[in-house]
Symmetry: C2
Subunit: 752 residues, 2 copies
């Protein structure tokens, strides 16, 4: 979250301006957000030769208030050391808020204890959640390594150097942060009675499964290396249970949406676009509504099932505060308003209540996007960046197929927020059904997913043989169930019902027909699985492309979802063959010279691959259709999903990432289309360009993203040419789609 | 050449029908043809535990007459052992023919010496050059391991099992071979005076360079492991000199073409299609014609240079006897007739004379295919299979760009016949100019070639900087040459002349302008190089595809030639994504189920890659145009060349491989087309389908190749469906091309 950069700059200042030697080690996990970073800094008059982390600290600062409950922050703290806490709490509340153990330790060590409300200060300055400059300045103030006046000067010089290019107001804000860091600190007198404190704050935790307590919590406390091997008995193969990240509750948001029932039109779009599945529509019955906690306001739901009540519920502790939901809400009068976390966090009980209600069948089924939102998601809660463009796609896919999905995931953001050990956001429903997820390598993901699929296919063909052998002698329910199963065994729709019916019939009959046991032994394979292969553009367009091509060409029934951020996002934005011309990216520091590769058209060239390009924010229904069609297609499918990313530098902020997708399509930067080979077999045009004729201003779109806009600043002489090329490339690409669609029309007309 | 199979079957017969234990080791080089196979067979009453090759042999057989001159055949021969020589020579000529050393050894060891004219026998039976059954039967007869009558029975049973499916006449021919092997042997009495023989046969060898004598000959004698490290002083990096395979002279042909001057129309097509560059047109002046050896008949040549004489010359020792040249010759009365080797081999002197004449500039230049044939080839002589469809393409490319080519070659047939150490068919002209060739791996070939290109580009940009710095002060010839060079430095056409002019001017001026030396130090880079990347379809469509895509996408000026045999030829015909549906191949034993991948259209999707499909036998001029355009295109180019292969099982024989290409195009199995992005820039249709509307019978075409035809025999129930699919696939593919071409026409018309 920027701590490393800030600490590096502190080291530089001390190294440059004093006679002290300096050393810095940084330890961090691989999470996309909400992870923990520990900076180990040493300064001293003699050369420092300590190739290990700090075990005895003079100065400890905690940048995230909630960490006082999660970590043993004062491990290795020296007597008389300085402890600075970023605290939203007032001095007088600390006795109630701080955990008892921390109070005892502070008192016993006779620590010098300071607090600063850095989030509040940053917000007032206009820095949003960026508190690093404040905390860095406070560090200088408290440690007295250099005189305050010098520190202020050096820090402001550094601001000029770092942010000068971004404009004077950015420099000014950061300078204000320097001043505030010096002055915003309050010293806390440690009451003598803390030495024997037995009461204090703690976070109320919902019941935690054993694995979460014994493994996840330990690893999250950064103590995983101490776990004995015996902890992993039974899962020596590396299998981790799913559904564990829901116990982490990052509470990362500063602003959280509040639902205004009277304005809501019940479209469920807020749920579709939320990158963190932290806002969802719920249906409750009258009893449930009546027994709900205070504030659980509901509306009548008009649907086929009578007496249901409808409500949008927010999960404040899992919300990242990006604001996409509120920005997207299409109600004539906004039905979502962003409110300070203070007022919304206390409403966590509403969410907890909604989640505690028994699962019930979705009264509307998955027939359209809106109704599908009443399905459970199988992806809660990922640690993707606030506003991430990738996760809403994953959410939607799991809502549709999560109870029978298998996922092979390329290394990339989606493998990190998708399963950064020990946290697993993929989860299961009340029956224990949910996605099976695995990540092999960056480069072999498609092959690995094909292997999953072929393994399952082999088992199912064994099952089919056995079942066919037993069918002639079968009678009654068993016969009916067997026939129904056989007739549609490879069809996803309704497979769960047919599988359940077969299971029930066999289970009822197995006592008198012991031969049915061998079918029941294979009952995990009654359901037609939905095989998915997820990955980023770095994987799909570049490093895994050879394998992806091989797998798509195989003709096997697998579904590929490419999360197209147009760069290698997870590693900081390297250029891929998906990066369009003119975009600045790593390895393309002066703007990429070649155009974006048309991966979709390459797949179309096979003729037997279902292919689609989608952009959720631009056309949710098209995205829904594409995903549904792709899964139903009995061969390989490829969906390329446009996903804005923090690496794009959206000037409007990541809270507008969904609208950015819309703008991208409107100006012709991105095209949504679908190619369905089955239509050709039916004598229809297989290619359908879903995006309308562009009308937005292409150049304006580019200028809204730092990756393009900065080219104009850095290489003003070359930028124009490259911008023109990008626009021309996009235009030609669209023309190509138009040409293809027309040429099919023409050909089909000729044939008639 | 089938020896291994035959010996395996001998081992099986002995193992199955006697109490003897048997062991077989086979040692062979990696050459495509004309290589050597040594079979080490042991039989005995006790279990054999000898994990090493045979050092003392009871029985030695030589299947290739010419090997008596090349190898020390009797190394490790036991006294009194049996030596069987496949001999085209009569008994009474042996004294003259056998090398003195061999005669001495036979006499000293009191060997039992037999000869058999297996080639003559095989030809009479109708087995062509296939002598293995004859030699196997002779082995049984001479060793008496089992009684002759039993051996005959077992061998004939084996014939029935192996060839039954191919029809009774094939079985009959092989049975005749068994009988002939028993009876066709003649014993040779070894004259006492041989013990002291000092005279005998030897092959006249043209002057051999040191490397050939000291390395190639030694390695070819299978004694390379004995070479001391010091032999490789100066080439420790593995560099091998080029132009060494021309000293091998396989003399593999049984029939060799004879030129009939009066019928010849001077089209030069025989030279174009010959897979071994063993037939070529030569232009000689009147003096040279007058001084030529007897039989060097010439015709008047009508061209811009007066007084030139024309002749087609055959290289009998390098000809493989495939007959393609004669089959292709379009003269109204055939100007090439296949004649027995006996009558043609003595005409080697005509070839040697033609080759000995001084190089002179091609009076017609490279403006068309016919005139380009007067350029030297830089690819002589490869050991590709007789009739190979790949090599004529390589020949043509080197004729056009050989003096400034760099080649990166994927592993595959083209790397084996292209440089099977120590033999290197790529060669240089009289000025020492010729292709630089390297093979890294199967999978990284495109990247490796790009690396070659980028290395060269870096050096040339350094050269350009230096030259630009010196230009302002330059005068006279140097100035002119520099300016001319700079103006067209990246243009292939005429680059040699501009480079020579620059070299000459600088060399003349360097004494007074020592600063020019730094340019002259870089003179290897004056010429614009022509970067090529060669490989098979296994490489391009499958294993190297990811890299190929990356390299093509890079936009760099490299030229890729895919030799498309539709299988992994070098390793025996495994199925690739280029294999069409219905073809039987390894890993697709019941016919491939998916259609052929359209690699060309994938490359077209980028819009900035020159792409072409060619089939030399169908349209030589189109192939010539495509190759020329591809090389001239200042970005990446991809040429996909259809190449029949022994793995296809052409029923008409490999002598018709060129006609097979024609038939493939005529029936619509293969389409020739070119996509030139530069045309679009000029407002013209970039896509041109060169093949006409199909007219031939598609099914007939399929049935002419064993890879398809055998499907009907092996899987009669499924074959029909797959054949229909292949035909439909090909049709749809063509329709796609038509649609694209039309849609561009339409779009361009709209724009006007
Ligand atoms: C062979 C290999 N190279 C590099 C890496 C490092 N790496 C991990 S994730 C990643 C980037 C993934 O980018 P992309 O596929 O675009 O997915 P995104 O992060 O954008 O979702 C890289 C380079 C790796 N794991 N394996
Ligand atoms: C990575 C790798 N896999 C396999 C091989 C073995 N191999 C060598 S050549 C070859 C086949 C080449 O086939 P293709 O590219 O079609 O060329 P062709 O021989 O048909 O000209 C294979 C599989 C190898 N050298 N490297
Ligand atoms: S603010 Fe962002 S994370 Fe929070 S509920 Fe809305 S969309 Fe989800
Ligand atoms: S997006 Fe707005 S209107 Fe639609 S369901 Fe959500 S709150 Fe209601
Ligand atoms: S794709 Fe971009 S926004 Fe999403 S988690 Fe990765 S880096 Fe963050
Ligand atoms: S027979 Fe074959 S190898 Fe010999 S010259 Fe003719 S084409 Fe070449
Ligand atoms: S192909 Fe025939 S006509 Fe043409 S040059 Fe050769 S021999 Fe002469
Ligand atoms: S491509 Fe086929 S014919 Fe040519 S050398 Fe290879 S195996 Fe022989």
């Amino acid at each position: 979250d920027g701590t490393v950069g800030a600490n590096k700059s502190a080291i530089k200042i001390i190294g440059d301006h004093t006679d002290l030697y300096a050393q810095g080690y940084f330890a961090y996990d691989s999470k996309k957000s909400g992870g923990v970073t520990i900076s180990h800094l040493r300064f001293g008059p003699d050369p420092i030769r300590k190739p290990y982390l700090i075990r005895k600290a003079d100065y400890i600062a905690c940048h995230r208030p909630s960490y006082i409950y999660k970590y043993d922050l004062l491990r290795g703290f020296k007597p008389g050391g300085i402890f600075l806490l970023n605290s939203p709490w007032r001095k007088e509340d600390l006795d109630k808020v701080l955990p008892a153990a921390m109070k005892r330790k502070l008192a016993a060590l006779k620590a010098k204890f300071y607090i600063i409300d850095a989030f509040e200060i940053a917000k007032n300055i206009g820095l949003g959640g960026r508190i690093n400059m404040i905390m860095q300045s406070a560090f200088f103030h408290l440690t007295h390594i250099i005189p305050d006046a010098d520190a202020v000067k050096y820090l402001k010089d550094a601001n000029e150097a770092s942010y000068g290019r971004k404009g004077q107001n950015v420099v000014d804000m950061n300078n204000a942060a320097v001043d505030a860091g010096m002055t915003g600190i309050e010293e806390v007198e440690i009451p003598a009675e803390w030495e024997h404190a037995t009461t204090g704050g703690s976070i109320a935790r919902v019941a935690r499964p054993d694995f979460v307590k014994n493994v996840c919590d330990v690893m999250n406390r950064q103590e995983g290396d101490d776990l004995p091997v015996s902890t992993f008995k039974g899962i020596e193969d590396g299998t981790f249970p799913s559904g564990t990240s829901q116990y982490e509750r990052p509470s990362a948001a500063i602003m959280i949406p509040e639902w205004i029932p009277e304005n809501c039109i019940g479209c469920n779009q807020c749920g579709v676009v939320c990158p963190h599945a932290a806002i969802r529509p719920f249906l409750v019955n009258e009893d449930e509504a009546a027994n709900a906690p205070e504030g659980f306001i509901v509306k009548d739901f008009r649907g086929p099932v009578k007496g249901m009540k409808y409500r949008i519920v927010v999960d404040p502790e899992d919300c990242y505060g990006c604001g996409i939901c509120a920005n997207t809400c299409p109600a004539p009068k906004k039905a979502l308003v962003m409110k300070p976390a203070e007022t919304e966090l206390p409403k966590q009980n509403l969410w907890d209540y909604a989640k505690s209600l028994p699962a019930r069948p979705n009264p509307l089924g998955k027939k359209n996007l809106r109704s599908a939102m009443f399905e459970p998601t199988y992806f809660e809660f990922s640690g993707a960046c606030a506003g991430c463009g990738e996760t809403p796609y994953i959410n939607m896919v799991t809502r549709l197929f999560g109870d029978r999905m298998m996922i092979s995931n390329a290394t990339g953001c989606s493998s990190i927020y998708g399963a950064s050990a020990p946290s697993m956001p993929y989860t299961k429903n009340s029956k224990g059904q949910g996605p099976a997820w695995a990540n092999s390598l960056f480069e072999d993901n498609a092959e690995y997913g094909l292997g999953m699929h072929l393994g399952e296919a082999k088992l199912r063909s064994r099952l089919t043989e056995k079942l066919e052998a037993l069918l002639p002698a079968a009678e009654g329910d068993v016969k009916t169930a067997m026939e129904a199963w056989l007739a549609k065994k490879d069809i996803g729709e309704g497979t769960r019902d047919r599988a359940d019916a077969l299971d029930a019939a066999l289970t009822a009959a197995v006592a008198s027909h012991p031969e049915y046991q061998e079918l029941l032994d294979l009952k995990d394979h009654f359901v037609k699985k939905s095989q998915w292969i997820f990955g980023g553009d770095g994987w799909a367009y570049d490093i895994g492309f050879g394998g992806l091509d091989q797998v798509l060409a195989s003709g096997e029934d697998v579904n590929v979802l490419v999360l197209d951020t147009e760069v290698y996002s997870n590693t900081g934005g390297q250029s891929s063959k998906s990066t369009p011309a003119a975009a600045i990216a790593k390895f393309a520091a002066s703007g990429k010279k070649t155009k974006k590769k048309d991966l979709g058209m390459i797949a179309v060239s096979y003729g037997y691959i279902y292919v689609a390009q989608i952009a959720l924010g631009a056309d949710m229904n098209q995205a829904f259709k594409a995903i549904s069609e792709a899964e139903a297609y009995p061969g390989p499918s490829l969906i390329i999903a446009y996903a804005p990313c923090i690496n794009h530098g959206l000037k409007a902020g990541m809270g507008k990432s969904s609208e950015e997708e819309k703008r991208a399509v409107e100006c012709g930067y991105w095209c949504n289309w679908r190619y369905n080979p089955q239509l050709l077999e039916q004598g229809k045009n297989p290619f359908h360009l879903d995006s309308r004729e562009p009308k937005g201003n292409f150049r304006e779109y580019l200028m809204g993203e730092v990756r393009f806009a900065s080219l104009a600043k850095l290489f003003p002489d070359k930028a124009e040419e490259l911008f023109e090329k990008t626009e021309r490339d996009a235009k030609q690409r669209r023309e190509n789609y138009v040409r293809i669609q027309k040429s099919y029309d023409m050909e089909l007309a000729e044939k008639k």
